[in-house]
Amino acid sequence: MASLKDIRARIESTKNTQQITKAMKLVSAAKLRKAQNNIVNMRPYALTLRKVIADIAVTNKVSHPLMEKKQQVKNVLLVVISSDRGLCGAFNSNINKFTEAYYKENKDKLEKIDFLFIGRRAHDYFIRRDITPVDYITKLDKDISYELASKVAGRVMNDYLEGNYDEVRIIHNEFKSAISQVVVCETILPIDLGLTTFNTEKESATNFSVDMIFEPAPEAIIKDLLEKHFDLQVYRTMSESVAGEHGARMSAMESATNNAKEMINKLTLTYNKLRQEKITTELTEIVSGAEALK
């Protein structure tokens, strides 16, 4: 049986833990708001960019290696986005499990699967399983800037254009809401703009003049625009993952705080029971002592 002092110490330490988890929750909530803002701010840019590309592609019938589907997919690059830090529930383990399952399933079908890790957690996990990535990037949470994303994107795109890979897939947590994140696997290269729907829908292109002046020529513009589009896709997935991370951490810390509260309640109850028992025993001792002296 634990002594009164032991229980008191446990209550104290649980209280401290509770304070920490509470603080972490608040910090995550603030960071989440910032990350969500990032996503919202990016939307108009993404929409306008996509529209410009579609307009050019429809009216000028230009194509580009980044958009052409390969006949046979043999070499695949997987970009896996996780977080740098833990304590965010199942956020990282979901990613790791999904990636491992994907790897096991497709290992035999494909000639080569390479990995590029963004975030330390996935990297550490797969290093322990003897999978060495072609590259890996950390320090995600401090600032995921567009610049960082476009550096990653540039690297991946060069590899793709040189013919090292036939397909690039990205595995990340999609940000549904603060409490729900879903692991998704998207094919980001070759770029699929869903242009087929634009081709059938004449109206989207009709208000777009065919006499458009291009400076420089459309082929050069579409190349740059597609690169931008790709950069943006990488930036978007990274922002979503960061927002998801903060959301996951927030709810994990919320439940940790609740658990701590429950624990404190239980411990306090035991503490009081023990204290009363002790008093009763002492009283009985004093009374029986006094009786014996008579």
Binding site: N38, N41, M42, P44, Y45, A46, T48, L49, V52, I56, S145, Y146, F208, S209, D211, M212, I213, F214, E215, P216, P218, I221, D224, L225, K228, D231, L232, Y235
Partner: protein, 138 residues
Amino acid sequence: MFKLTIVTPERRLLVGQEVDEVTVPGFKGELNILPGHAPLITTLETGVMKWKLKGKEKQDQAVISWGYCQVTPEGVNVLANMADLPEEIDVQATKEFLSASEKRIMNELITDENWTEFQRDWSRARAKLDMAEGQIKK
């Protein structure tokens, strides 16, 4: 009069604001867009872009770096990599950056790979400084 939209991946400066006149640093040099301009798509260089909001005399400015401009009958869409408004510019820091990069170019060998990036950063800082100093004079 037409509508102007300026967006970057990280923020949106203007969305569908009505303007009378827009000047952008285009691929072939400075480009002034007035109502009724022919449809056009151009790449943008790093530099100062200006616009006049509807019914206002004073021009607003921003430094943009490396982007796209699309002119349609309805308005102008500017997609830039980065955009800085005059009130956000830290003149001291920009000056320091400029002198640091000038030192770098004298003492270091810059590879072709880094050169584009270096030049872009440099011209962005230069344009920022030009704009900030121009504002003070006014």
